[in-house]
Amino acid sequence: MLEILNLNVIIQLLINGILFGTMYGIAAIGLSLIFGTMRIIFLAQGSMIILFAYVCYWLFELLGLDPYISLILIVLISLWLGAGIYRALFKGAVAQEDKNISLLIAIGLMFLLENLMTVFWTANPRSISTSYTSYVFRPMGIGIPFNRLMGFIMAVLSTTGVVLFLKKTFIGIAVRAAAEDMEAATLLGINPHRVNGTAFAIGTGLAGIAGVELATIYPFDPFFGFIFVLKAMIALAIGGIGSVFGALLGGIILGLLESLASFFIGGGWSDAVSYAVFLLILMLRPEGLLVRSVKKA
């Protein structure tokens, strides 16, 4: 094993890990935003990602749409769908002020999506292969797969977009305020349903982007979503909840961990290592690995 342990292999592992980890990262940003205003883990986030991966798959198979063109369509659909899901499923539960109801709705939605997707697309893994899917850049002998590079660019762009939205728009500032103190925000005339709906729309929009990224990189099946949302939670545990770039970085670190673990320990170990890291972080630094220690107020 030692003779293959040269610099190129290590760099290759790191690049694969970083590129794949961005997908966890944008899923984690979505979770973090929804958690911020609603204080629930939106467990159906992973299934939403798979749903959009299937939408991308269908647009490709049935209409011949290139995944990077259907991305625009899918982002629009997913933003709209996110706002719709909030209105239809969560608005009434939020008014009841019982977080458990919202959490149960999220779990129910996850199972519903899993089963609907099984009916529509069967449980067989699907993937999209275009003429350029397997194209690999080779700068300095290091292989960079085109589809993973595109995924990385999409993730960085969408993360930057979300940060700008939260900093520069009135409703974005309101979402951040509501994440800190919903009642104080309400007293200023901020409608809780508006900020929740916005957080949901963006979270689901990010699921749309992650779905396209997934469809172009990796085979997926309807039940992959639950694992995905777990991975996003691990990314959040690493990056800390409430920071957008932290969540992206958490996803990248998780991707790196998995990439290194599957090479050095063995393919089956990558999940076990990531869950072990999850538990360790929760035990030792529950506020998040990368977060500066919470001020004692």
Binding site: F170, I173, A174, R176, A177, E180, D181, E183, A184, A185, T186, L187, L188, G189, I190, N191
Partner: protein
């Protein structure tokens, strides 16, 4: 301007406000005083639409606002500075102020409102890009009031504005309240610092266990032996 009739409010199945009726005249300072847990904060939250009213009516300039959503109530011209300031400490001073002008009516005049807030509290202009959490206690209270003024309220409800401030800052705070009042802002003030509150109030209500037990002019209640005995104590009455 603000009129409450026969208000009953429940807080988690416990009745916190019992058959409360009161009125606040335009341009006046009205104080709500009483011990901890008397229902003062609940009353303010009910006016703001955060806590629902079980029975009774709340009228503002003749229009009913009973159980309207909070954003409509803010838009009508009622602003509430909650107890403990409740700033968004990870947001900058400027972001906190801007959110004060969130309602459609206030947003149209946001630039003027900002200018007015900075004139009133020049320190906030210098610190506008600092996080609100990095301000001192006194500056945070200024920011909380400035933020509430950003909605261009006709009536400002202040819940324990002097809480946690040093004696010098408490005096500044009460001077500020009188200053705002002289600029045509009606004030509804909840205070545990009863002596100071009654000194500046045109009228006051004493709340006990969710019921109004006494009402009258501020100075009048201040010299009332019963009020002195129950709420102020000999130490304070000598001042």
């Amino acid at each position: 301007m603000l009129e409450i009739q026969g208000l009953d409010v429940f807080y988690d199945d416990v009745q916190a406000v019992w058959d409360v009726s009161l009125h606040v005249d335009e341009g006046s300072i009205v104080a709500l005083v009483g011990a901890n847990g008397a229902g003062k904060s609940t009353l303010l939250k009910t006016i703001s639409g955060i806590t629902p009213a079980e029975r009774g009516a709340i009228l503002f300039s003749g229009k009913s606002l009973t159980n309207l959503p909070p954003q409509d109530i803010v838009d009508m011209g009622i602003s509430h500075v909650p107890e403990g300031r409740r700033l968004f400490s990870n947001l900058t001073v400027l972001e906190n102020l801007k959110l004060g002008s969130y309602t459609p009516r206030a947003r149209r005049t946001i630039e003027q409102s900002l200018g007015r807030a900075y004139d009133l509290f020049p320190v906030l202009r210098n610190r506008r890009n600092q996080k609100a959490g990095s301000l001192s206690g006194g500056e945070q209270q200024m920011l909380a009031i400035a933020r509430a003024m950003m909605s261009r309220p006709r009536i400002l409800m202040l819940d324990e504005p002097s809480l946690g401030l040093s004696p010098i800052l408490v005096r500044t705070m009460f001077e500020l309240i009188m200053n705002l009042n002289s600029q045509n802002v009606t004030i509804l003030l909840v205070e545990q610092n009863i002596h100071q509150a009654l000194k500046i109030a045109d009228r006051a209500y004493v709340l006990k266990n969710g019921k109004i037990t006494m009402t009258g002019g501020g100075e009048e209640l201040l010299s009332d032996p019963e009020v002195q005995k129950a709420y102020i104590g000999a130490r304070w009455s000598r001042q």
